[in-house]
């Protein structure tokens, strides 16, 4: 006891007084922590466990590609075999959760105006080649898309006559080049079925240098203005298009 008393006497008076607010602050902090920290904080990690419940209880608005089949099996059946087989119903008809809850109370809309389909099918140079695109100003400007095309089974009314229906970017580029009058099939041998099942029947690329030589060889029977090369010495290891871009030949 004497020892503790000795220590106590050694502590100056002002320090003892200071200890009171110090203890008060620490006590207030501990009490606050006890009462204000949410009880489920840190249960699974450094967060409020019920935060997960808050997130997962949010309302679902897009009900997913499976539910439509329950009532609209006829349409789903058609669409399943069409070009649009990978396009979810809700991509065009909008979120359907409310509709599946109450089919009559919440009718879904179908985009019938001309502006909707071009979101995907308007010609943009940035779109991957082969994706079907149109230029809407010149593509039957006054007609609604659905008057010719069935969105659930989109086929062109007749097989596209011209390659640019799907390869617009290449067609555009070619139109600005010296090759404007060279038709696509002059170089790309294309099976007729490509127009209907484009990915199953693919056009070919030239495998012979002589194809280009038909116009560009020294002795080719073609217009004088066409640039000529000596086929024997000019880049003999490669097929021409391995260096040149025939859709826009790199000459001035």
């Amino acid at each position: 006891m004497n020892r503790i008393k000795g220590i106590r006497e050694k502590i100056p008076d002002q320090v003892k007084r200071l200890l009171i607010p110090v203890v008060l602050v620490i006590a207030a902090f501990v009490v606050m922590r006890h009462f204000l920290v949410p009880s489920d904080f840190g249960k699974y990690g450094h967060y409020r466990a019920s935060a997960i419940d808050d997130v997962i209880s949010l309302e679902i608005k897009y009900s997913g590609h499976m539910v439509c089949d329950d009532c609209h099996d006829d349409i789903v059946e058609v669409k399943k075999m069409s070009y649009h087989r990978d396009v979810a119903c809700e991509a065009c008809h909008g979120p359907a959760a409310a509709h599946t809850e109450d089919p009559d109370g919440n009718k879904l809309q179908a985009p019938r105006e001309r502006g909707y389909c071009p979101l995907c099918h308007e010609y943009l140079p940035s779109r991957p080649t082969g994706f079907p695109q149109i230029v809407s100003e010149s593509h039957n400007p006054r007609k609604a898309c659905i008057s010719c095309h069935d969105a659930h089974d989109p086929k062109t009314p007749e097989a596209p006559k011209e390659c640019k229906a799907c390869h617009a970017e290449i067609a555009r580029t070619k139109a600005l080049s010296h090759h404007i009058y060279v038709s696509c099939i002059r170089c790309h041998e294309t099976p007729e079925e490509h127009k209907v099942r484009p990915r199953d029947y693919r056009p070919e690329k030239p495998i012979r240098r002589e194809l280009c030589g038909e116009c560009h060889a020294k002795n080719a029977p073609a217009a004088k203005a066409i640039p000529r090369v000596d086929m024997a010495t000019h880049g003999e290891r490669y097929v021409c298009w391995q260096c040149h871009y025939p859709h826009l030949p790199e000459v001035d």
Partner: protein, 257 residues
């Protein structure tokens, strides 16, 4: 007798002192004592059993913006061009190397055909979203624990706990976060977590018409994502920051940042 007493007292004093010094840092350390081992959500979903990821095939994206549009509807993102959980960027590289990037209204209304004077070399679209980093800078800097990584690798935000300091927004290298103007709390993509736990896929993946976005479980044996990762050479955004994203890109261009 007295000697023993003094020794005992000394011992007790030391004991109390060392206990105090041990428990003082304890004030700072969070109360994570009752950490449970396996967490099961309501409905039987076990987060530990999954590891979600998204694959994006640049060569397929047509820039229709249906993903960005559906995301806003599914997640109540304000319909203003300043707030996006996901958006689509368009890159145009011209001859000579100049690059133009745009994302009008995040791509929600699609893209216009811009007429450029120069000759285009290549062009493509890039969908962007929260990368759900395995090493997330936003979680690192959150002062309160209002944003956190779940066991299945998705980063969530606790909108009832977020103080709105916006430090996480500054720390995200991908610009994926924003402050929700109504709730005044941080917001970002969470892979539609409310859908995931019910066995559904994110809304953006649901509506993507060209299968540009594939989604799946990296822990599952077969999923579109696993196949995607098998068949493509993939890259992540800003790999040098070591954030270890779980959004993977196939065919990513060097100009994409």
């Amino acid at each position: 007798m007295d000697k023993i007493n003094i020794e005992r007292r000394e011992f007790l004093e030391k004991l109390i002192f060392s206990l105090l010094s041990l428990s003082c840092p304890g004030l700072l350390i969070s109360k994570e004592k009752n950490k449970e081992k396996t967490l099961v959500y309501e409905g039987g979903y076990v987060p530990k059993a999954h590891s979600w990821g998204m694959g994006i095939k640049i060569n397929r994206c047509i820039g229709c913006g249906r993903c960005a549009s559906a995301c806003k509807k599914e997640n109540n993102v304000p319909q203003l061009p300043f707030f996006f959980r996901t958006w689509v960027e368009r890159y145009i590289v011209f001859e000579g190397g100049e690059v133009i990037v745009d994302s009008p209204n995040g791509g929600v209304d699609g893209f216009n055909r811009n007429i450029h004077e120069k000759k285009m070399l290549r062009s493509f679209f890039v969908p962007k979203l929260c990368n759900q980093c395995a090493n997330p800078p936003c979680v690192q800097v959150c002062p309160t624990g209002a944003t956190f990584k779940t066991d299945d690798g998705v980063i969530l935000v606790d909108s009832k706990y977020c103080i709105g300091c916006e430090y996480c927004i500054q720390a995200c290298p991908y610009g994926a976060r924003f402050l929700h103007p109504k709730t005044r709390t941080a917001e970002k993509c969470n892979f539609c977590y409310h859908r995931l736990v019910k066995g559904m896929i994110p809304a953006c993946v649901e509506v993507c018409p060209t299968q540009t976005r594939v989604f799946g479980d990296r822990k599952g044996r077969a999923s579109p994502l696993v196949r995607f990762m098998r068949m493509h050479k993939i890259r992540v955004l800003k790999p040098y920051l070591n954030t270890e994203p779980t959004v993977f890109y196939a065919g990513l261009d060097m100009e994409v940042k």
